[in-house]
Amino acid sequence: MVEKAAKINNQQSNLSLPYIKTGRHYLEGSEACIEGALLAGMKVYAGYPITPASEIMEHASRRLPQFGGRFIQMEDEISAVCTLVGASWAGAKAMTATSSPGFSLMQETISFSIMTETPLVIVDVQRPGPGQGYITTSQEDVMQARYGHHGEGPIIALAPSSVQDMFNLTIEAFNLSEKWRTPVLIMTEETVAHLREQLIVPDLNTIEITKRKKPQDLEIPPEAYLPYGHDLVPPMANFGEGYNINHVGLVHSEDGNVSNYSLKVHLENIERLHQKIEKNVNEISRIEFQFLDDCDHLLVCYGSVARTSLEAVKELRSMHGIKIGFIRLVTLWPFPEEKLRSLISKVKSVFVPEMNMGMIKHPITEALRDRCDQVISMPEIGALHSPEKLIEQIVKRASC
């Protein structure tokens, strides 16, 4: 029996759909990302080809119709991300993947999505810049992730380190975007997107999927519905359900009115957007850590650099006697300053290896300003740090 997929909504309970099977798989990061997205309930993908992100789009084009979802290759990155906006407003979980130059093109729409509080997921498979740069790996967009969109308005950005992460964090990205009614970025790199390793898919019934809060869930009728009100995270009505929701990108009141502008209205609007995320940093942001109990020094990293870093940290501890702790930022933004401070009392040096000239080192420096003697940036451009290089540099600096 073939079911006509006429109306797509956010229902995620139909286990007869061809999800990836529980067990061990051997996939590249790109593929794991799409499989996670499908489990999360993604029903619309719109994309545009760009190296090294095209594989993600290709996997989506193959798999999505098998789930009754719809895939479209748009005419550019701007229309790709705009397609996600419309799809989300009509109730679908939607995603795109691009690389750094395409990410730049999407910034206006990201800004708009923050203001209209539109859930959607964007994967940035970072490559070096500026300009077309090269097609290898990088972490040069991490500041763009937070500050690339014009205007105020925080955003959530995750940094996967492995194929398992590409699967898990994509599901988490969708859940975060639905829960907080915000666009969510997955800041990955060419390294992880093209890497192939084992993926363990758990029992599908153990995977938690978040659906957006709708006014119907709170028994708010259309006449009383405030598209930007009721709660710090406003319930979101989907198109086609009789709620007559007006999405507006200008500064607005809780009921969506844009013509009663005042500085008070303006501030209330922006402050709520800000607090929605920043007040909930501890719930949203995740950090992983090891060896913090006895460390003299600290290494803070994210993305694929975390893999080199953990290798180096273990060797530094076992073979060089350097007591160095390891922190991996799973969430880049909102930056988990409080969590970081709560983990560290006093260290000598904080080493921050990044595949850029030093970006996350800035919020780290601010966060640990009174917890360390110095923050040492360890840049690498166009390639993943090797353990040898990290070890050599840390041994030299740690003994000073």
Binding site: L195, T308, E311, S386
Partner: protein
């Protein structure tokens, strides 16, 4: 035999199936033997002729750093590849080359030869050379992975209609190395 961290690097030029070889090797370890492996590859922008490298890191423990630090096995299918990667081979590492494309071989490592292109051509097409190499690798790695796991991986990862030829190529690669194992193979020039 517990695998702590086994590092295999395959390098050549585009079109030789270097990327496929790495992937199939990874599938063999992870899917058919159940041991975690990480497979990465990098290549120049040209589809054919540019340099190309594929790596497989295998471990029964966690694999952090995803690339080769010091290879246990280097498969060099071009002179350029050997020149570039030979210094990253462990002192007791093994070199595997195609003697028809790699002539200049330093004598500081144990070196096996498999004329992969020639064998593949004799089966019907030079494109089967990657299965020849995989057969040779199966022999070199026989203490770490069952021949059948690699064979199965090959059969499941080649285009339909070519399974028989690829398996024949695999078998020849295997046999070639097994015969050579009878003698300690140390390559000398020429």
């Amino acid at each position: 035999m517990k695998i702590d961290r086994l590092e295999i690097r395959i390098a050549g030029f585009g079109g030789q199936g270097v990327v496929t070889m790495g992937r199939v090797l990874g599938v063999a370890f992870t899917i058919h033997e159940g041991i975690n492996s990480v497979n990465t590859h990098s290549y120049g922008p040209e589809s054919r002729g540019g340099s190309c490298r594929s790596e497989v890191v295998v471990s029964q423990g966690e694999i952090h750093y995803p690339s080769v630090r010091k290879a246990d096995i280097l498969v060099a299918l071009s002179q350029v590849a050997l020149n570039m990667y030979h210094q990253d081979l462990k002192a007791d590492g093994i070199l595997l080359i195609d003697p028809n494309s790699v002539k200049d071989v330093p004598d500081d490592h144990v070196c096996y030869e498999v004329p992969a292109m020639a064998i593949a051509s004799s089966i019907g097409d030079v494109k089967y050379q990657n299965s020849v190499v995989l057969g040779a690798l199966a022999a070199l790695l026989k203490s770490k992975i069952k021949k059948e796991s690699l064979r199965l991986a090959v059969s499941k990862n080649v285009p339909p209609g070519t399974i028989e030829s690829n398996l024949a190529a695999f078998e020849q690669g295997w046999t070639h190395i097994m015969k050579a194992d009878m003698i300690i193979a140390k390559c000398d020039k020429g």
